[in-house]
Symmetry: C2
Subunit: 230 residues, 2 copies
């Protein structure tokens, strides 16, 4: 549930002294690794390995920025749409890293859905995370989600599928239908209604005592992998 997700993050940050920068880096890297497993470069239908990464204003958006940076290193061609940039210096730094690595940023999202279908192989939804308040979604995200709901290329949602009137626990049948979900730390309740083909869990770093305390019953990760398919 939303309260549990917050309690886990609080424990990691306050008791374990993980840094927010550190967690976002770990999660963003793990998301990129999960994408490479389901959609490896040779499997992409377009000539260019293009990926559109749509980033929201808060932590989920920052994880999207890190994911885009690692995808670039893995030779994908990410393009970022980040309509409302956070003033938070931590998020600004993650943005600068992408800009300095010449990852293009879109100034607007085409409303003509066919343009998105033709230009990209995949869309990564890093708009809303488990920390989003139910029903708080406003413009420009309502329009963006309306556009994403119509696209035909696969959508990968980070942590939770973003939705207008989103509720981490209840989910929202009106939202986008991602093909792939990468749950961060632990699957949120809404993940039980996820109907896509690929569900991954990231990241492996979660201390055993935290897993036990919150009765997460997480699966074993193979070898040194930072993600596991559920």
């Amino acid at each position: 549930s939303r309260e549990e997700a917050e309690a886990i993050e609080k424990e990691l940050l306050e008791d374990y002294r993980f840094g927010r920068q550190q967690l976002i880096e770990i999660w963003g890297h793990a998301c990129a690794m999960a994408v490479t497993k389901v959609f490896p470069l040779p499997s992409l239908p377009r000539k260019q390995p293009t990926v559109l990464v749509v980033c929201g204003p808060d932590q989920n958006g920052a994880i999207g920025l890190v994911c885009a940076r690692h995808l670039r290193v893995f030779e994908y061609e990410p393009t970022i749409f980040y309509p409302k940039r956070s003033l938070n210096s931590l998020y600004r730094d993650f943005t600068t890293q992408c800009e300095k690595m010449d990852i293009p940023f879109l100034s607007y999202l085409p409303t003509e859905v066919q343009l998105i279908n033709d230009a990209y192989n995949l869309v990564i939804d890093a708009i809303l995370g488990a920390d989003a308040e139910p029903g708080e979604v406003q413009e420009p995200y309502t329009s963006i989600l309306a556009t994403l709901k119509q696209i035909r290329i696969p959508i990968i949602s980070l942590d939770v599928p973003s939705a207008t009137g989103w509720d981490v626990e209840a989910g929202n049948s009106e939202g986008i239908s991602p093909d792939m979900l990468v749950s961060l730390a632990a699957p949120k309740q809404c993940a039980t209604r996820f109907l896509g083909r690929h569900h991954f869990l990231a990241a492996r770093f979660l201390p055993y005592d935290v897993q036990k305390k919150f009765e997460l019953n997480l699966p074993e990760y193979p070898g040194t992998e930072c993600v596991v398919s559920l």
Copy 2:
């Protein structure tokens, strides 16, 4: 050279706005990945997959702490010897993460070398990094290095082989002889005199423009690997 290594780190921190916490996390994770490649769990001779991680006072020691934490997650049994703990809050946080994950910390290093040979499969040398001033090594590190020079189990050095009277450029034939070296960002000049069996390069995240600017001529990393064998 030492100046180039400093210039690269400065560029990453100041121009690219990478965070120190972020870099230490990336490097520590990559070092742990490199260790698992050369010394996978089933290959270890002892019944318990024990690893001794010796951490210095500065950044190299913090990378050792992160490496130990990831090795723990990969089911190794690291023990940390960290004789001079930094007051830097960043390094303190990395220490807390290890403590809270129940990684044991030694209060002293046995001077009887056979005890170390018998108790551990590997020793990780995270004592000095490329930022160490030549000739500045003092106690307790001179004694520790004298002990490590006599041990028979494999030593893995992070970034540079630590040595008394160490010089990043000239190296030091009097120092320890690691079996494995994990060069961070780019091999330092002293690596040309490295005589061990395994030389790895980490981490892959280095932006292409930085590689080009400093004429690093780095090799290609296979797939999504964060380290490459040189």
